[in-house]
């Protein structure tokens, strides 16, 4: 591994010499000297892959190493469509060829196990020590095992969370396929904050689509630790119009909060002692930043990463930047879209700082598309900036799909959603997931 890395570094240096004369037209005037450096990125998901790519895109002289255990990354976005039978699993998989071949990023398929912010070194699981000038962490979320009584890694083999796309998603799908018609699917949704606020509500819609087409007597119970949720009126209208009474939502105040899981029995218990037995049980537990953030010493008591709003540099440790789900970026939601735009801002900041320039002042955008049924899409969009030293939504810039809209409108939004997926995948990994 170290040998490979050294060869890469050598190549990067040659690359630097070769490209010094050609100034890319990406907007920042380039300072010839001191513009290079070593950037290490942990996590090859929406945030990390984008950060690695854009640092290289904006300054190929910078040596970029991406650490990501998976050779192929499966996205959570559109994994609900796979559960609904609308996508093949491989269509949500992406690899790292573009990063490696087109952009010259060194991709190491291993885990980052530790960070030494003093020595500025990342240690990988296979024993390498990789030095950085700037470190970007985009490790996504880890399930907060034990925060929900009875729900740990073993329980997740029986009652999957499927909140990271991969084997868990396939397990849930196979359980749904094995379930008899007339069965009960239960999804337990967590309190805020968690990855993808509309995710649970899209998921039950997609599973309802699968039931409607394959097991029409089945029911869905959504037990929620919240009293309200993202795009709620739109979801509720859509559930009703597409699936009638198949989906029942139980709010926090109607005893929807699950406090204990018995995965062997596929049973959950709510706050006030009601028990529900499922045929297929999907538990989305409380979450926290991926463990490497804690090892780097950049998480706070909440388990998430506080950042300086304008740069997404850690509020606690210099030269470590964090993006994506791991961060506290509210009012920006934990979405792939946000991780991608945050990563571009961080890439611009790092490129500027390594060149000794002031970082540009940022703004970010987000759109969360959700699919309720084939040809029935809804969305919510927001634009964000820094105001009074905080991240804030730009008033009047965002919006949500109208409550009353003709079928053609919903159909269009479903198409926009699919186009969004292809575009963001292409922007992040150079593959569209066709």
């Amino acid at each position: 591994m170290t040998v490979k890395l050294d060869r890469r570094r050598a190549l990067a240096l040659i690359g630097a010499a070769g490209t010094a004369a050609t100034l890319p037209a990406w907007g920042f005037p380039r300072v010839a000297k001191a513009a290079s450096g070593r950037v290490v990125v942990v996590g090859g998901g929406f945030g990390g892959a984008t950060a690695a790519k854009y640092v290289k895109r904006w300054n190929p002289d910078i040596d970029v190493t991406l650490i990501e255990p998976a050779e192929r990354f499966y996205t959570c976005p559109f994994s609900n469509l796979y559960l609904g039978g609308l996508r093949e699993f491989e269509s949500i998989g992406h690899d790292y060829d573009e990063l490696r071949e087109t952009y010259g990023v060194t991709v190491l398929h291993t885990w980052a196990d530790d960070v030494d912010p003093e020595a500025k070194v990342v240690r990988t699981r296979d024993g390498a020590a990789i030095a950085y000038d700037k470190l970007v962490l985009s490790p996504g979320v880890d399930m907060h095992w034990g925060a929900l009584d009875g729900y740990d890694e073993t329980a997740a083999e029986m009652a999957p969370h499927a909140w990271k796309a991969g084997p868990q998603t396939r397990l849930l799908k196979s359980q749904l396929e094995a379930m008899a018609d007339g069965g009960l699917f239960i999804l337990a949704a967590p309190a805020n904050p968690y990855r993808c606020p509309p995710g649970p509500y899209e998921r039950v819609a997609m599973i309802a689509h699968y039931f409607k087409t394959h097991k029409p007597r089945s029911k869905i119970l959504l037990l929620d630790a919240k009293d309200s949720f993202s795009k709620q009126p739109l979801f509720m209208d859509g559930w009703q119009s597409e699936y009638g009474d198949m989906i029942e939502w139980v709010s926090l105040s109607n005893d929807g909060k699950v406090v204990r899981v018995d995965a062997d029995a596929l049973e959950v218990e709510t706050e006030f002692g009601n028990r529900h037995k499922a045929d297929v049980l999907n538990v989305v537990p409380p979450q926290k930043a991926g463990f490497i953030a804690e090892r780097a010493g950049i998480t706070d008591a909440s388990g998430w990463v506080p950042v300086k709003p304008a740069t997404f540099e850690s509020a606690m440790v210099d030269d470590i930047y964090a993006v994506g789900d791991a961060t506290i970026a509210a009012p920006m939601p934990k979405s792939g879209f946000c991780a991608n735009t945050q990563a571009k801002v961080v890439a611009a900041v790092i490129v500027a700082e390594l060149a000794g320039r002031e970082p540009p002042s940022p703004s970010w955008a987000n759109t969360c598309y959700s699919l309720i049924a084939p040809g029935y899409g809804i969305s919510v969009a927001g634009v964000y900036h820094v105001a009074d030293g905080r991240i804030a939504e730009v008033e009047g810039a965002g919006g949500v799909s109208p409550r009353e809209a003709p079928a053609a409108f919903r159909e269009r939004e479903a198409r926009f959603g699919a186009a969004w997926y292809a575009a963001i995948s292409n922007d992040t990994w150079g593959t569209t997931g066709a």
Partner: protein, 271 residues
């Protein structure tokens, strides 16, 4: 975007108190940095009288950030022997920057066995939450914590009060391990807690309608009672303790400002 049951929508612009607090933390420590909080708030200051409250022995638990100010879980715990001669007599909660800062005032008897209370609060904006406790021996304790309130862009809210469930009550009592040990009581009533400060979709003011009072009795003896205010979240939720000497019946009563009441009963068993 309708913000359920509160007069002003939460402003998306952030208030800088939290930031100022954090900066001060580093040099002064949390207690002194926020000490001014109860001095700033007349209702809190009135409770304290001339006393300088103790800041050790009281814990105020709330998140650093909430993405939904309409219901934020807040817990208060006080170190106390909770004997008949030395017990926490009352716990008061305030939300400094709400239109009416009072959230709740709970009176305890030694029967609670443990000086701990959790509830859900409405927070209009980023601000400081204050808890004050008074003991039967004349001690006063106070704690304050900053919280930042944001609304996530993916969390466009709906006005979701479920009027069919109005005045439904729920209660759950755990079994204490032995006689006199505190058992946990969880209770909730479905109620909109209309502040009287909000307008409906047609622009007409929605009249105030709130639960004013909550009472808990064990076998006819008072355990605790609480005055509830507009700043308590819809669907009032309380978690407290009761330390029974004998098995029996816990009776809970909620009283609305209209005089209407709702009741719930739960058996208390000894394990």
């Amino acid at each position: 975007m309708p913000f359920a049951r509160w007069a002003r929508p939460i402003r998306r612009r952030d208030i800088l108190i939290a930031g100022a607090g954090v900066a001060a933390f580093a040099t002064l420590g949390p207690a002194r940095a926020l000490a001014a909080a109860w001095d700033r708030l007349p209702a809190a200051r009135a409770l304290l009288g001339d006393a300088e409250p103790e800041t050790a022995g009281i814990n105020l638990d709330l998140p650093l950030i909430s993405e939904d100010g309409s219901s934020v879980t807040v817990g208060v715990a006080v170190d106390s022997p909770m004997t008949s001669v030395d017990y926490v007599r009352s716990i008061h909660l305030f939300a400094e920057r709400n239109p009416s800062p009072e959230v709740l005032a709970a009176d305890f008897t030694p029967l609670v066995g443990r000086a701990e209370l959790t509830t859900r609060v409405r927070l209009n904006e980023s601000q400081t939450v204050i808890a004050i406790a008074r003991t039967s021996t004349g001690r006063v304790l106070a704690a304050a914590r900053n919280i930042r309130v944001t609304i996530s862009g993916c969390l466009v809210r709906a006005d979701t009060y479920d009027s069919e469930a109005d005045l439904n009550t729920r209660v759950r009592v755990s079994s204490p391990a032995r006689r006199g040990a505190p058992a946990e009581v969880l209770t909730l009533i479905n109620h909109p807690m209309e502040t009287g400060l909000r307008v409906d979709d047609a622009g007409d003011p929605v009249p105030e309608r709130i639960i004013r009072r909550f009472d808990a009795h064990l076998n006819g003896e008072a355990v605790m009672s609480a005055r509830l205010y507009r700043s308590l979240a819809a669907n009032p939720y309380l978690r407290f303790f009761v330390a029974p000497d004998a098995p029996g019946k816990l009776r809970l009563t909620w009283t609305e400002d209209t005089g209407r009441t709702a009741e719930a009963e739960a058996p208390v068993r000894l394990a």
